[in-house]
Amino acid sequence: MSVKSYRQAFNEAIRQEMERDERVIVMGEDISGGMGAPGEDDAWGGVLGVTKGLMPQFGRERVLDTPISESAFIGCAAGAAATGLRPVAELMFVDFMGVCFDQIFNQAAKFRYMFGGKAVTPLVIRTMYGAGFRAASQHSQCLYPLFTHIPGLKVALPSNAYEAKGLMTQAIRDDDPVVIFEHKAMYDEEMEVPDEAYGIPFGEANVTREGDDVTLVAFGRMVNLANEAADSLSASGITCTVVDPRTTSPLDTETILETVSETGRLVVIDEAHPRCNMATDISALVSQEIFSDLKAPVKMVTSPHCPVPFSPALEDLYIPSTAKIEAAVREVLGKGH
């Protein structure tokens, strides 16, 4: 056990899996950095330093910088996965999915089904998502609902450093294609994380708080905000169950339904755009499956239906906040709260 940042947790998970299994390779733009340049080797370790140190340890044969051509190298990773390697490819920002989505959703995700169960594609795609970085419309999106929509993909959203290490390890060990979303605003957040390798099973939610009044289901960085909101509400005597599903696909519907049945109230917090997102997905699940257990309407806290604005003043209004979560909780609890 030692204090590690979210960044270090990812790094350590990849490093340990690379040590364990020679077939694990890593690739991406500037994933090591300084390729062909006269200066320092491993100059970047990824644009925000997540993969720093892997190239010096494992060499250029297993840590591959790429030209800027996401279709070619993400597709390459898919092809390599289908033929015996276990690639961990970085799509630097998930916003760049638009130039390479085909290789993810029509190729890697569908191999197994299209080929009648004969393909095994242990591909991991690491990608950064989320707002708060003043990075504007094309570098701040969430987009995990688009990946969750696609059968054949698994989607993980680690909400802190412990989750980061466990879910990354699991992703690399998993034999299906996994897309793992790293929130760019969390890389420096630290906590105690085990030093030894461990996987966190997919499809098993983490209940971070237990309470009586309302269930909060939140994703990725929003889990932290939900926890904060829950802590703050407890001062007013309102207790919340907070559920971090960890993976949106597979989804631990059981835990969600169970906890919502207990509290009878649900607030879903999703940083993604509001239409066809995880908030609607969870709301729909609950209102179809345990309608009669609900004591109040489901409430969704999401970003609004607009691109992510650049101006800090606007971006702060854009992102769901603990204040908005608290207000939503009070609303589902009805008058008097």
Binding site: S69, S71, A80, Q107, M114
Partner: protein
């Protein structure tokens, strides 16, 4: 490296198998026995076979929407393929893939592909596996003239060269992408594009099995020796339309008949091996007869095969979910 008698018989067998397979699928589609989008390869046999005769199971290929020929050339089971095209449970992909998604990874056949340009990135991956695991294998993307304009293809040229991968891009240029002429849609030339990315590029007459075989030999040797990727521009023709049902009005009058009469790749092969006494006429007719009856058998198996059921719908999405 030389083709011995057995090799030549095997090459002819594979080419005949493709031709008969496609003719059969054409007839069966016309008779309403085969559903979906079906793209046939008849006329292009010398390309798939000329290339794949050099390959072993450790070598990989990726194909296109027009995948039957590549599959057969790479050793996929024709009976399983036919059943697949019929949507049957015994199909190579359990009936889930169909004509556009036939694959057999155990044979190094990474799949037909419904996405034009989809295969080249995957082939970079197979080449990377070969390079990383030092299998000595090579990986080959077949793509059409139309696919040669797709960004995924062009990016793959660069990646393959930058990483010095044992990858080969075989551009099968039949002159058309759907109804659009490659003379119009392809700016520059395929070989100059290869040069633009620092790769050797060669143009070859795709009706001539021996020419394809020779050019492929060089490129594959280069790749196996760690000398990186190449491009082969194969010029050829095709007998059926873009897909089954296409009235082919965009082609010139008599265009197809003329090719059939003068440049059919099976006929050219036959003439060559008989003229040069490499094989006898009897060898060839024996192959033709056995292939014909085998394909009849494939169609019968496919026709009589059982269809998948509700229990099959949700399997094979994940290994574990």
């Amino acid at each position: 490296m030389q083709l011995n008698r057995d090799d030549l018989k095997e090459a002819y067998r594979r080419m005949c198998l493709i031709r008969e397979f496609e003719d059969k699928v054409h007839d069966e589609f016309a008779a309403g026995n085969i559903p979906g989008f079906v793209h046939l390869y008849a006329g292009e046999e010398a390309s798939a076979v000329g290339v794949c005769m050099h390959l072993e199971d450790r070598d990989a290929i990726a194909s296109t929407h027009r995948g039957h020929g590549h599959c057969i050339a790479k050793g996929c089971d024709a009976e399983g393929m036919m059943s697949e095209i019929y949507g049957k449970k015994d199909g190579l992909c359990g009936g889930k893939g169909g004509s556009m998604h036939i694959a057999d990874l155990s044979k190094g056949m990474l799949g037909a592909n419904g996405i034009v340009g989809g295969g080249s990135p995957l082939i970079c991956g197979a080449a990377l596996t070969a390079k990383t695991l030092k299998t000595g294998g090579v990986a080959i993307a077949f793509l059409g003239d139309g696919a040669s304009n797709q960004g995924t293809t062009l990016e793959s040229y660069n990646l393959a060269k930058v990483w010095n991968l044992p990858a080969i891009f075989v551009v099968e240029d039949n002159g058309y992408a759907e109804s659009t002429a490659s003379a119009w849609s392809v700016a520059g030339t395929q070989t100059k594009r290869a040069e633009g990315f620092g790769m050797p590029g060669a143009e070859v007459d795709g009706h001539d099995f021996f020419a394809v075989w020779e050019v492929a030999r060089e490129a594959i040797e280069r790749a196996r020796n760690g000398e990186g990727p190449s491009l082969i521009h194969v010029k050829l023709n095709r007998y059926y339309g873009h897909f089954e049902g296409d009235a082919i009005t965009y082609k010139g009058e008599g265009e197809i008949d003329k090719i059939k009469a003068t440049k059919d790749c099976l006929n050219l092969f036959k003439q060559r091996v008989i003229e040069t006494s490499l094989l006898e006429s009897d060898d060839l007719s024996e192959i033709e007869t056995s292939v014909k009856s085998y394909i009849d058998q494939c169609a019968a198996t496919a026709t009589n095969g059982s269809t998948p059921t509700e229990a099959d719908l949700m399997t094979d999405v994940y290994l574990k979910y």
